[in-house]
């Protein structure tokens, strides 16, 4: 069976709907569940169990996923345009094509599960509770941006939702994820499921030395850690067959069990991650998860993305595997929405994104003091008398110092 086909649909008409035909508005009151087939979306390594081959999904949930994914898509396209209009400067890595990965992980996760990722983090920030205006505002370098405009594209964080952010250094997020997994284990109550940590990284990052170090620690100490490789088949301009001796990334953890997931299928991602969370959260140790995905844009804004891969490959992926087209098809097949209703919704989201971008543009640049804030716990205030910045770093501990009166005690 083709992955993602609708198996059955259990519909219950809400009382509020009465006898009216479902319209866009009425659809909101129309609650129903559907079961989708995701067989063929998984491959496992060193595992006795596997994710389910069917996924049950309510209309609300599928709609929510679609809404999030389409917002991601529109936001990234808007970023592209704003970059070309020179309103966004610097380094900027877009996520379009990979939306199902962040969306599916989010759907499987509790808010208290920890999440850390690479620089390709605009959309994880959205999934983890950010608004379009705070993401785009950060890219504009404005004070209402996600990180007060101080970081830019690679720097989004949301402490309230255990989002540890983007990381500019390839691979650096992974050992940090291991530490947060340890913290999750440490603070869990006996007999209860642990919260898990996921560290997302690319196929290129997968061979950074520090990832092996983290993998060993997590396996040695049985940490609830998910190593999530977003395999979009390229690390900048180098394809996986040229930069990695192993291309079955889900097997890379050797002893660590692995799971490969069709990362263009948001339902499979959700089910696979549910399975991984269940496995790791129950004290079975870490898991390697490989998401088979694709980025439509180039690596960053300076990369047209067409010199090391051909246009046919991009077009083929877009036309046969697009994660958004997939969700839309699920919505229609389950009779959750008609094609027209989806179009209306898309129109609304496009408008919302535009509004959010306008809102972000109204935000001012950060005030100058921000430059000296948040370097140390205590802010470094500019000195009076014209010196811009105090030329010290650390004060001696006078109480413990034997230099105080020039002699040792």
């Amino acid at each position: 069976m083709i992955a993602g086909t609708l198996l059955r649909r259990i519909a219950t008409r809400g009382a509020a709907v009465g006898g009216r035909l479902p319209s866009v508005n009425a659809a909101r009151y129309f609650s129903s569940n559907a079961t989708f087939d995701v067989e063929g979306s998984f491959e496992t390594h060193m595992l006795d169990t596997a994710p389910e081959t069917t996924v049950e999904c309510s209309k609300e949930e599928l709609l929510e996923m679609f809404e999030l994914m389409y917002t991601m898509r529109r936001m990234e396209i808007t970023c592209d345009n704003e970059y070309k209009a020179r309103n966004i400067r610097g380094f900027c890595h877009l996520y379009d094509g990979q939306e199902a990965v962040a969306t599916g992980i989010n759907a499987a996760f509790d808010p208290e599960d920890s999440w850390i990722t690479s620089y390709r983090c605009h959309c994880v920030a959205l999934a983890r509770g950010g608004s379009v205006s705070s993401v785009v505002g950060e890219l504009f370098g404005n004070i209402d941006g996600y990180s007060r405009g101080k970081g830019g594209s690679m720097h989004f964080y949301n402490k309230a939702n255990y989002f540890f952010g983007g990381a500019g250094i390839v691979g650096a997020q992974v050992p940090v994820g291991a530490g947060s997994a340890f913290a999750n284990k440490y603070k869990s109550k006996p007999g209860e499921k642990m919260n898990v940590s996921v560290a997302c990284f690319g196929d290129g990052a997968a061979n950074q030395g520090q990832i092996w170090e983290a993998a060993n620690m997590c396996n040695l100490w049985n940490l609830p850690m998910i190593f999530c490789i977003e395999n979009n088949r390229y690390g900048m301009g180098t394809s996986i067959d040229r930069h990695s001796s192993i291309q079955d990334y889900y097997k890379m953890g050797n002893e660590i069990p692995g799971l490969r997931i069709d990362g263009m299928n948001v339902l499979a991602v959700k089910e696979g991650m549910r399975f991984a969370k269940e496995y790791c959260g129950s004290g079975n140790g870490p898991m390697y998860v490989e998401m088979m995905t694709y980025r439509y844009h180039g690596h960053s804004m300076s990369d047209p993305g067409t010199t090391y891969r051909n246009r046919d490959e991009i077009a083929f992926t877009r036309s046969t595997k697009d994660p958004l087209e997939f969700v839309k098809k699920c919505l229609v097949d389950a009779e959750f929405m008609t094609a027209d209703e989806i179009k209306d919704m898309e129109k609304k989201i496009r408008k919302d994104v535009q509004k959010e971008v306008l809102k972000a543009k109204e935000s001012p640049v950060p005030p100058h003091e921000e430059l000296f804030k948040h370097i140390f716990a205590t802010n470094l205030e500019p000195r009076s008398g014209g010196i811009e910045y105090p030329p010290h770093i650390r004060m001696p501990n006078y109480e413990n110092s034997f230099w105080i009166d020039g002699k040792k005690e």
Binding site: R89, G90, F91, G141, G149, K150, G151, G152, S153, M154, H155, G168, I169, V170, G171, A172, G204, A205, N207, Q208, G209, Q210, G235, M236, G237, T238, R242, H243, S244, S302, T307, Y308, V365, P366, H368, E370, L371, F372, I375, L380, E388, Y389, P390, P391, H392, I393
Partner: protein, 370 residues
């Protein structure tokens, strides 16, 4: 000049192994002076900095069959096109992409170089040299010393684009020369222009000590000047007096010299101050004598660099200079540097030690005590 600055080091640090270092540099200087002489006879062509760097590597590959180039995406020319065309010309077994493994790249370079190969590695941005720091500091820089001169990896050059570009943010802007310069055994070079880049890179590739070669990436396309098309070397460990003057000595390196030239122009145009501008070129080991000589003449010194102030290499220059020029100094030495903040995104223009800040320092030392 190089030798006498090492003599200073020797006097202060009478340790074993200093002898070795001196011999190594002695050789470089000799060959380099011959190379530099040959260069003057060369034809020149207008080119930008990345083309000059590309030419240097082209010459290295052509003249040295053991030379290889490797790094992330270098087979396609690299992010800044520095290795453009070299894989096609010399083959994929000599110019090849590595996985995303900086520590691996640095260690791999040591291995190839230690058996006589010439290893030209690229770290895609200087900001990513930190994952390779262990190999550079603990393995590369000390191989000769810790093996009692049995092994060395002098044939290593690690190139890395550094410095501000206007919008690079935290991880595409840093200048890590001071971290590296804290490492005896390592040579740290930063050229200021296409012509110096080519000559210094060729010297670095042929130097008997491992070199980290930091290229000011803002200049890759924007700096254009006539560059000799042939093979030439510029001496390592030697500063260049770019402009001679009588009132104030200004010391800098790398792309930042553009800013300092501007400051010198303003100082002269507005106040008639005559600045002597020195490009250190090699950060480690640095040319103490040239700077001392200049400060003994002018009595005033401004040191300026893009990296943060605290523990920047400027601090080293200042400490050494006050020791050698104490009685010649007519004003406190000024350091005009990047701020002690992480490299900022939206605040880059405040962070940068721009021409006005430098002009301020120049007029301050001129007015001191008046």
């Amino acid at each position: 000049m190089m030798l006498s600055s090492l003599r200073i080091a020797e006097r202060r640090l009478p340790i074993l192994g200093q002898q070795v270092v001196r011999r190594a540099f002695h050789q470089t200087v000799q060959r380099n002076s011959a190379g530099a002489a040959a260069a003057t006879a060369d034809e020149t062509r207008e080119m930008n900095l990345f083309t000059a760097v590309n030419q240097a590597m082209d010459i290295a590959l052509a003249s040295d069959p053991t030379a290889i180039i490797f790094g992330e995406d270098v087979a396609f020319g690299g992010v800044f096109r520095c290795t453009q065309g070299l894989a096609e010309k010399y083959g994929k077994d000599r110019v090849f992409n590595t996985p995303l493994s900086e520590n691996g790249i640095a260690g791999f370079a040591i291995g190839h170089a230690s058996v006589g190969g010439t290893a030209i590695g690229e770290i895609q941005f200087a900001d990513y040299i930190f994952p390779a720091f262990d190999q550079i500091v603990n393995e590369m820089a000390k191989f000769r010393y810790r093996s009692g001169n049995q092994w060395n990896c002098g044939n290593v050059v690690l190139r890395a684009p550094c410095g501000a570009v206007g919008h690079g943010g935290h991880y595409h802007s840093q200048s890590p020369e001071a971290y590296l310069a804290h490492t005896p055994g390592l040579v740290v070079v930063m050229p200021r222009s296409p012509k110096t880049a080519k000559g210094l890179l060729l010297s670095s590739i042929r130097s008997p000590d491992p070199v980290v070669f930091l290229e000011p990436k803002a200049l890759y396309r924007t700096a254009v000047e006539p560059v000799p098309t042939g093979d030439y070397e510029l001496p390592l460990g030697q500063a260049e007096v770019m402009r001679s003057g009588s009132d104030v000595t200004i010391v800098g390196w790398g792309g930042h010299l553009k800013v300092l030239e501007e400051a010198c122009d303003m100082a002269h145009g507005l106040h008639g101050i005559s600045c002597e501008l020195i490009d250190l070129q090699t950060i480690l080991p640095w040319d103490v004598d040239t700077v001392v000589e200049s400060v003994q003449k002018t009595g005033k010194l401004v040191v300026s660099h893009e990296a943060p102030l605290t523990c920047g290499f400027g601090a080293e220059v200042v400490a050494t200079l006050q020791e050698h020029c104490f009685l010649s100094l007519e004003a406190p030495i000024q350091r005009i540097c990047g701020l002690d903040t992480p490299f900022p995104l939206v605040f880059e223009k405040y962070y940068i030690p721009n021409a006005l800040k430098n002009l301020d320092a120049i007029t301050n030392v001129m007015d001191y005590g008046r």
